[in-house]
Symmetry: D2
Subunit: 324 residues, 4 copies
Amino acid sequence: MVNKRKVAVLGATGMMGQKFVQLLAHHPWFEVSAVAASDKNVGKEYASSIGSRKEANLPDELGELVLTEPKPQALDAPDLAFSALPAEVAGPVEEDFARAGMPVFSNASSHRMDTYVPLLNPNPNCTTAILTLSLKPLQDNFGLETVIVSSMQAVSGAGYPGVASLDIMQNVIPFIRNEEEKVEHETNKILGTITKPAGVTVSASCNRVPTLHGHMEAVFAKTRSTATPKEIVESMREFKGIPQQLKLPSAPEHPIVVREEEDRPQTRLDVDEGNGMTVTVGRVRRDPALAGVKYMALGHNLIRGGAGCSILNAELFLAKKLIK
Amino acid sequence: MVNKRKVAVLGATGMMGQKFVQLLAHHPWFEVSAVAASDKNVGKEYASSIGSRKEANLPDELGELVLTEPKPQALDAPDLAFSALPAEVAGPVEEDFARAGMPVFSNASSHRMDTYVPLLNPNPNCTTAILTLSLKPLQDNFGLETVIVSSMQAVSGAGYPGVASLDIMQNVIPFIRNEEEKVEHETNKILGTITKPAGVTVSASCNRVPTLHGHMEAVFAKTRSTATPKEIVESMREFKGIPQQLKLPSAPEHPIVVREEEDRPQTRLDVDEGNGMTVTVGRVRRDPALAGVKYMALGHNLIRGGAGCSILNAELFLAKKLIK
Amino acid sequence: MVNKRKVAVLGATGMMGQKFVQLLAHHPWFEVSAVAASDKNVGKEYASSIGSRKEANLPDELGELVLTEPKPQALDAPDLAFSALPAEVAGPVEEDFARAGMPVFSNASSHRMDTYVPLLNPNPNCTTAILTLSLKPLQDNFGLETVIVSSMQAVSGAGYPGVASLDIMQNVIPFIRNEEEKVEHETNKILGTITKPAGVTVSASCNRVPTLHGHMEAVFAKTRSTATPKEIVESMREFKGIPQQLKLPSAPEHPIVVREEEDRPQTRLDVDEGNGMTVTVGRVRRDPALAGVKYMALGHNLIRGGAGCSILNAELFLAKKLIK
Amino acid sequence: MVNKRKVAVLGATGMMGQKFVQLLAHHPWFEVSAVAASDKNVGKEYASSIGSRKEANLPDELGELVLTEPKPQALDAPDLAFSALPAEVAGPVEEDFARAGMPVFSNASSHRMDTYVPLLNPNPNCTTAILTLSLKPLQDNFGLETVIVSSMQAVSGAGYPGVASLDIMQNVIPFIRNEEEKVEHETNKILGTITKPAGVTVSASCNRVPTLHGHMEAVFAKTRSTATPKEIVESMREFKGIPQQLKLPSAPEHPIVVREEEDRPQTRLDVDEGNGMTVTVGRVRRDPALAGVKYMALGHNLIRGGAGCSILNAELFLAKKLIK
């Protein structure tokens, strides 16, 4: 693939938008040709509009891009678009792009529950993305019946400025709006087929804790056919998805890493495993309550649960020739 | 009760021991006549030995007490003793006191699983104490079948110096040694009778999060007879224990407070409810996985889950004339 | 003073406004008769409008007050007003009240630099209030020549929502807009007389650190006449202000507490000293650079550096019969 | 340099020791041939002995090294040694190595104040290392007269387990044992010559704040010849040390980066600049108190202020042929 696809990043000034630009800066298949934002920064240089929140070494040529409006006609015909737009504006904007024939890979929740949208490929909610990756080998090998999950989610999941420091320092907030509903519904959509949800009973308790990046999840799962913790671990370690088979650029070698130590995964130590694309699992043990297993799963909410996952989706569509 | 009982605090220099002294400083029934510690500080003034970790305004007369060894003969015959000794030394020391005929109310785990110890009354593990108080009305009114709990525990639960800052800042540690076993076993002991455990299937996932005080717990519970979230809330609000009936000095008016707000309890805002003796519950809602309810429960690990609970035990024994 | 003065709190829904209401809830001279806010909450009950951010046990009768607009005619003629309005609206609003003959005690910076305003008594900036209290005995006893201060300020100094958690977790932000200018100018105004600033050369470096409440300041000071650290400590310990002489209700017995321990004051342990009205000083030692002394000073930014200081001002005006 | 020098890391299991191994894992001139520790882990595999604290991807061949005692005869004659031993044991151990003719590059404070030690090259204290790098261009270009510094230091500066979470969460601790003395003395040693200290009057206030890595310093400096903030910035930007001239492997291209933004440097955002070897400066402005300049300086305490600096020292000695 000598000629890189030109891509636009919609909502490029926010936390997730910056993560898209950062992950695409040296991508072998894509190059960022346009950055768009629905805010007062249109017409400004990208680097100056993100100002002092700029986290990483942004390449100069990307920093010098001028922010445009997130409209198809405002952009110089990119091959595809990544959307990090906030949910309240993403809906119609993304439809405009799809109608203009431009594939959109989105992190916004707006179209997540649409039955089938050929050009608009939404990414799951971050907590769901991490959970379902850990559950996929269980579903494939033993069939899933019931899942209980209690999450401990980082503040970057709420975007910028997001959670006030006065609200989260020394605190646990046991409520994230709509999050539990998303986890319970999307898990079934993702583990099922396009026409049929998976039929798993899912119950979630979602909590915000004072960490920066990385969602940790305590999972209790009952499978249809009996499986020992050892069999569960083996199924997770053997799991390879299509991205691994196709050796896509953003696919981690191991989508799931299972650690042996009694006190891992830990948010700060393991969040960047596999460049943030791996879900790290640990403490797989018998669960007496569901007569199943319980374990911990950790993933990077902005990468595996966000921009990295959208980019992987786009890579998959290209490799499968679903888009040009 | 004009004449206050003289009490000794064993293990008085640690975090839990200091909390005992703080709670007893102005107690209507008890006065601290001796402080003991199993360490190099024996013979020093109490105030200087706790040094710069001293948190609260310690009354001068208590600060001037001289630390003794934790042996019955080293103390001037107190009426009873509270023990905040570390588990690895508490066992034989507490037995010595009990053998000497001195009632011991203890926070140490050493004797928790003993079947029946007339003079030695251990307190439950902090996480269990908070959980079981919230579960008691469910057990009484509807019968409990299954409980799943995922905890988010503060660092003060590990004592001082306890958790290294390098281990917990920006981190979730999904492992606390022996904690899950304690929660699973002790819950049955507490909700049952002295001769018969309650027969509830309990499964715990215990996690350390970066908060100072207050254990937050995500609870999923299935009762034997069906109960709606509304009925559960009512049973919790109506719950009064013997401490409330006897109007014991350390008994909070409401052992359980159920909040209506969608985002409460919160660790920092609610940990001191009822002077730290109340468990605050919120978000009581239907749980599809167990076909029961799920809710959040929060309590102060050093007070309801520690020193305050032991003092309440001692008050109860006195009021019931089980000790003199 | 049998009949309490009726007072209005302007800007009552913010963090500082709530602190005013909390400190006034059981005040011997004042009772809150009106709460006003310049926002969309006008017409709502006070308790519901502050919602889940409500920190303390707000008395029911105050929670039931209905929020009015911050205009003199909208209120039922209170005797005086406390203002916690944000700086960008405080200016004209406070002037309206003063013109209507109603004394205003304000935390807003709008009128701080006015030369003389009989009815409008602004409170200093929080960092300055803490600094100048610690410096007053030095100025009185030895004359101040030069002051260098480097602050470590808590997030509550920025109000609510204020500092984003993503900006301050694991971070030090070495910039607070206009803060250094305020400290450098106001210190001279406060340590001087109404007609003549003190003529002290002040240089400040203001930093935000990840703490909730309490501003810690590293102070380096050169006095005009030579003073040993011991003499400085004595002057601080002997210092009594007019509030102490008049035994005003909000005056702490010791405006400055000097600690002997080598590692005190500490933000979390000492911030509430004197109900938040005391400044705690420690580590007074020789400074080779200015040939003076250096020391640490800590105060509660919302109480000594905010609402508590305004209330003390009002008490002083009443006791001195400067207002009725 | 085809044949890499064999190096031993003494004190390899601690936080600084792990940082040495991490920085040396892919070094072009050095390869780790031995790891030593003065603790109970001697004889164990390195990877298992650091256990769950292992932060980075340790190469397998290093993880499989067996820990030896830190004695010259216990090691297979490495070409040189890096020492991350704790100060209380470093003294005699390092002398043993030096006497055995093996050059030692050390982070321990034990020999820092020795006048001249040909084979034993101590690294400055972390706070001093960061400060002096920022001061060097001022000293070279304008002469330094007086320096006042107030530091905000991360917990990793205290090693592992180091600072208890209960001591530092929500806190500022204004005391670090011996730190201020080290900064005041070592700054003069470093900015002077081997035979003559620089004669700068230095006054330090050292504070621990709740951050993981990165020491932030508020600096006030008076130069002998007058310099505007603009001239100071230029001198910092133009500064190149011998490591830059010799293009040593660990030398950052820019030893000092001066940022223009009004709110930089920030600890979390800038600590890894130049792979942790760059000191980031910002907010250079006039200081009225010393009639000089004030600015902020930030550096990575474990890299620029620790292991990275020692490795750079060793590279310099090799390049200058001071050792073989």
